[in-house]
Amino acid sequence: MSEPGQPTAPEDAAEGEEFSYRDGMRGALPFLLPVVAVAVSFGVLAEPVIGGAASVVMSVILNAGSAQFAAVTVLAGGGGAGAAIAAGLLMNTRFLPMGLSLGPSLPGRAPLRAVQGQAVVDPTWAMANRGGGKFDRRLLIGAFLCLYSGWVTGTVIGVLAGDVIGDPATLGLDALFPAFYLMLLFAEVDAPRSAVAAVMGAAIALALLPFAPPGVPVIAATSAALIALWRR
């Protein structure tokens, strides 16, 4: 259970570990409920600001939770499109290092890899990570299909029923995301170097969190990976 997407279809196993799209969907199931809950939160929050249709369209074509919250927060405060786009994109800059780490594991030509890269959000990238810089694209895409459907469904529920159900954050489901990443971190830290990178990443994020714009602490923390260059 600690490995999201254990191999369950032996006929798929070519050499070493090989996963199916279904493994990816199954691995993402524990996150379906929290993703739906966060999406309901988004629908509840965004509907009065940008309208129901725009809220749903945003979830359908953007599918990036923290960026959507950031952009809507700016618009709600009376900010313009430029400021809202900047706030959202700053949140999404963390998909740059995620995409760079994923790139070597993706097959096919550049356009196909670019399409597959669209499946990256925090939990799908984290679930596809097999350690040592390797990623499984079927786990990535399977998890994406599962969580994307939950994200869109939850947004629709929040837009339509926001007045009735209130904010699901009170259920504590939002705490599942950091708990899950902590669990993956426990599995990922297998050598002194990865432990140093994790501690440095956490320290950089914590140091920047009080004053840096949202999104900056996480992207800056990625620079901790550069310790690989001088410590062998």
């Binding site: 780490s101 597959q116 009170t170 489901l173 705490a175 899950f180 994790a198 990443g201 949202p214």
Partner: protein, 103 residues
Amino acid sequence: MSVTWITIAGLTAGTVAIKAFGPVTAGGRDLPPRALAVIALVAPALLAALVVVLTLGADRSGVTVDARGVGLLAAAACLTARLPLLVVMGAAAVATAVARALL
């Protein structure tokens, strides 16, 4: 187009480009060992940062210690005790909800 739709269009175009950049530039060829060594450390650094930001980050910017911290401590205790994933997640959610109701 209204401000809302311009925002959605701009945000979507930028996000698609950001997500495509890594797979296009770092894929389809063998990377030098030093680059692979850096890539292998991106995950622990990024995961640790996500834990910090999602637990302590405030709505816009700043640091808040609230019920999420209690949930994370519960998760960390379960992970140290090597309990299964569902127990870890359940403990995190329940601890957060209880703390949120009490605080």
